[in-house]
């Protein structure tokens, strides 16, 4: 089913992609939607348009934001165009021949990138599933209530940010307790199913197409019997408890660093620093929780690229990591991880 016969020839797809992407970068919503409308009128396959045009463009937007100093406003506007295009494609699509079960699609609590989940939900809808999309950043409690009330065949959970994996695990657990299996995906889970399995998910999919193909084998899907044994590291819990204190220490060091240059850390700069520090702590905690160093090191590599392309000094982060490492002397696993994070990006 994935290799649909209606798939346009590569050149046609390329033209659609380029035209769509060009309109998105120009923040020209009318033209972007027009490109999609014309492709639909030509009879292009809706699933291909969703995945090979909208999702493809969205990935490029993400890269541009990371490396090309796109403003937040521009990224959000582009994402919004993706949402509009998705809606347009879904409205146009005809109902699938085989009706299937019910899927609840959610983003992990604190995960605001909802377009990937939305796109996957729409692919499932095209394949005949009844899809309930609960949206971005869903509270675990909200999901649990929803599952008890509607008892879907499966929950599809999306997590793009690895720092939200802890929340994601809580949601997989909530589903398991109500007897509902979970299929998970998104960049947060990394490049294979290891973390997904460790976290007790029934299925893991790398792409929306793969998710749809996997789901076509069921339902019902097996649900793990007992809870997954997480957090992975014993140090997680104590560090979580010390989170606020660690934040204070790191913030003071950042303030001193500013003071040393004769500047006061305040206003928007202070907020940005707090946000960055919170991210560092969140990713450190997530890495300890799921037991995967790469959750932390990859985040730092990514941050380095963003900071350098946006002209922010990477040295600040290295300084903070040094403070954090010293502060965590009594937590050897965490300290080693921080040291690893401090060293790894420097090699690149």
């Amino acid at each position: 089913m994935s290799g649909s016969a209606a798939e346009p020839p590569a050149s046609g797809l390329d033209r659609t992609r380029d035209a769509y992407f060009e309109a998105v970068t120009a923040m020209d919503e009318a033209t972007a939607l027009d490109v999609v409308r014309r492709a639909l009128a030509r009879g292009d396959d809706p699933e291909t348009l969703l995945l090979e045009v909208v999702a493809w463009a969205q990935r490029r937007v993400g890269l541009l934001w990371q490396t090309d100093d796109w403003s937040v406003a521009r990224e959000h506007a582009a994402t919004y165009m993706g949402e509009r295009a998705t809606a347009l494609i879904t409205e146009h699509a005809t109902e699938a021949a085989t009706p299937r079960g019910v899927v609840v699609v959610v983003c992990a609590d604190g995960e605001w990138h909802s377009l990937p989940a939305r796109l996957m939900g729409e692919v499932l809808r095209l394949r005949g599933w009844r899809v309930r999309f609960l949206g971005a950043s869903v509270r675990t409690r909200h999901l649990a209530l929803h599952l008890q009330e509607y008892s879907p065949d499966i929950v599809a959970l999306s997590c793009s940010l690895p720092s939200r994996l802890i929340a994601a695990h809580g949601m997989i657990e909530a589903a398991r307790r109500t007897g509902v299996p979970a299929i998970v995906g998104g960049a947060g889970f990394g490049g294979d199913g290891t973390l997904a399995e460790r976290m007790g998910a029934s299925l893991w999919a790398a792409t929306a197409t793969e998710a749809a193909d996997l789901l076509e084998k069921g339902p019902p899907f097996p649900v793990r019997r007992g809870p997954a044994s997480l957090p992975f590291s014993d140090e997680y819990t104590t560090i979580l408890r010390r989170r606020k204190g660690l934040m204070g220490v790191c913030l003071r060091s950042a303030e001193e660093a500013h003071g040393g240059r004769g500047r006061v850390l305040e206003g928007a700069d202070l907020d940005r620093t707090v946000e960055e520090l919170a991210h560092i702590l969140d990713f450190l905690l997530a890495a300890l929780y799921v037991g995967d160093d790469r959750v932390f090191t990859r985040f730092l590599e990514w941050t380095r690229v963003v900071m350098e392309s946006h002209g922010a000094p990477w040295g600040h982060v290295v300084g903070v990591l040094g403070v954090l490492e010293a502060e965590l002397f009594d937590h050897p696993e965490a300290a080693a991880l921080v040291a690893l994070g401090r060293a790894a990006p420097g090699e690149g």
Partner: protein
């Protein structure tokens, strides 16, 4: 008498027909740990509050380790009971299946054990030969019956009856297995009872919540609308934020407010205000006069109850842009974001609505240029507390700074951006209702 089990087939949640499953219990039968395993997995039933899913789980659990077929019957006195049968993969030579069906009242009356045990408590009994359950077992297994059938009534189902049946093809149930059946039925019965109660409560709560959730925004020519509504409902603290937008042809009406208090009282007041506004607009559309009328109405209903409010109209201007006319009642002043990221306040002022008889309100007017957006928000946004910073509030200054980065973004993206920033600021902490409504003059007149 029609053959048992074929009276009426009940479609399952996924469209009917037997559903196959991979057996997750692989312990050999009559291994004593089979009993331990079933007992252990019984705990898993407690977390399931959806009756159908619970039933399906209950008939699957004993399979392979204790029984070859497990059937759960449930019905109301004099009615036709539903049955759900879990059939072990050993019986049909493949994956196990769950099959559903219904008995006619007549068939049910030939099985006195279905209702008789309801009061007497869960004691397992053997079935007399010729019982309709035999026919059902023949049907779901496709084979003749041998071995032993035990049934036990399900206690704990208010106003209903139910029974659990275990069938083993070879040999007989041991006394400890028979005890387990009774214990099993007791747990399943009380879990089912709770599940039915929960569904009843959940439906009530859903109805209430549905009345609180704002209607989807209309699609209006030349006005781009965006909103975000993240209710504190999930934290059992139903707040009282509300907004509505109504397309009246040449202009749109909007209102946004936050009623005093929490919980059900707040919910009722929210409903009252929304309905009152709809009724009042039939006779009055000028924002100031509308607010004055609402003030009188709320005072007469209950002087203890009041609300903050921004109430107004947005009218597209001939040369592009929007004219906003609004009256305020003690609500945080909306912010207007220019395409270049400048942020200004639009303050209609005023005092709480429904609090004082002599309240003085006023009306203000402002024009939005093409692409400019007016952001109306509730205090849940600015009063969100950051747990990492000793509970520091987000505040108006931060909100203004955030909006300065949103110049030129479409209205829905602005609303999402604010919700996201507040969510990040909260870092997972509990919160009040977080509500944002954005009205924007579309950048290019004529497009929608």
């Amino acid at each position: 008498m029609p053959p048992p089990g074929t009276d009426e087939s009940v479609p399952s949640a996924d469209g009917g027909g037997p559903t196959s499953f991979r057996s997750v219990v692989s312990t050999l039968r009559s291994d004593p740990s089979g009993i331990a395993l079933v007992r252990e997995s019984l705990r898993g039933l407690a977390g399931v509050l959806h009756p159908e899913r619970l039933t399906e789980r209950a008939v699957r659990l004993p399979l392979d380790s204790i029984a070859d077929v497990c059937v759960l019957f449930a019905g109301r006195p004099g009615g036709s009971p539903r049955w759900t049968a879990g059939v072990s993969g050993r019986e049909n030579g493949g994956d196990g299946v769950v099959v559903r069906g219904r008995w006619s009242a007549e068939t049910a009356s030939a099985a006195p054990w279905l209702t008789e045990g309801a009061e007497s408590g869960p004691d397992a009994v053997d079935l007399p030969p010729g019982d309709p359950a035999e026919g059902l077992l023949r049907e779901v297994t496709g084979r003749e019956i041998s071995g032993q059938i035990r049934v036990v009534p399900l206690p704990g189902l208010a106003g209903a009856f139910g029974a659990l049946l275990w069938y083993r093809r070879y040999g007989r149930f041991t006394p400890s297995e028979a005890d387990l059946l009774s214990e099993y039925a007791e747990r399943v019965g009380s879990a089912l009872g709770s599940a039915h109660l929960y569904q009843y409560q959940a439906r009530t709560a859903t109805t209430l919540k549905a009345a609180l959730v704002p209607e989807p925004l209309p699609r209006v020519d030349r006005v781009e609308l965006g909103s975000s509504f993240r209710s504190a409902f999930e934290a059992e603290r139903i707040g009282g934020d509300f907004y509505e937008v109504e397309d009246a042809g040449d202009l749109i009406h909007f209102s946004f407010g936050d009623v005093c208090g929490k919980g059900n009282d707040a919910a009722v007041l929210t409903g009252l205000i929304r309905q009152s506004l709809q009724a009042l607009r039939l006779v009055e559309t000028a924002p100031l006069r509308l607010l004055e009328l609402l003030n009188v109405l709320l005072l007469r209903t209950d002087p203890e109850k009041f609300s903050t409010m921004v109430l107004g109209t947005a009218r597209p201007l001939p040369g592009g842009g929007l004219r906003i006319r609004a009256a305020g009642g003690g609500h945080p002043a909306p912010l207007v974001v220019g395409v270049d990221g400048t942020v200004r306040e639009f303050a209609p002022g005023g005092i709480f609505v429904g609090a004082i008889e002599e309240a003085v309100f006023r009306e203000a007017e402002t024009d939005l240029a093409s692409g400019e957006a007016m952001v109306v928000y509730s205090d849940g946004v600015t009063e969100a507390r950051n747990p990492l910073l000793d509970g520091e509030m987000l505040g108006e200054e931060r909100l203004a700074r955030l909006l300065a980065e949103c110049g030129g973004m479409p209205a829905p993206a602005i609303a999402d951006r604010v919700a996201q920033a507040v969510g990040d600021w909260l870092g997972g902490a509990e919160h009040d209702d977080i509500t944002v409504l954005v009205l924007q003059a579309v950048a290019t007149p004529g497009t929608s």
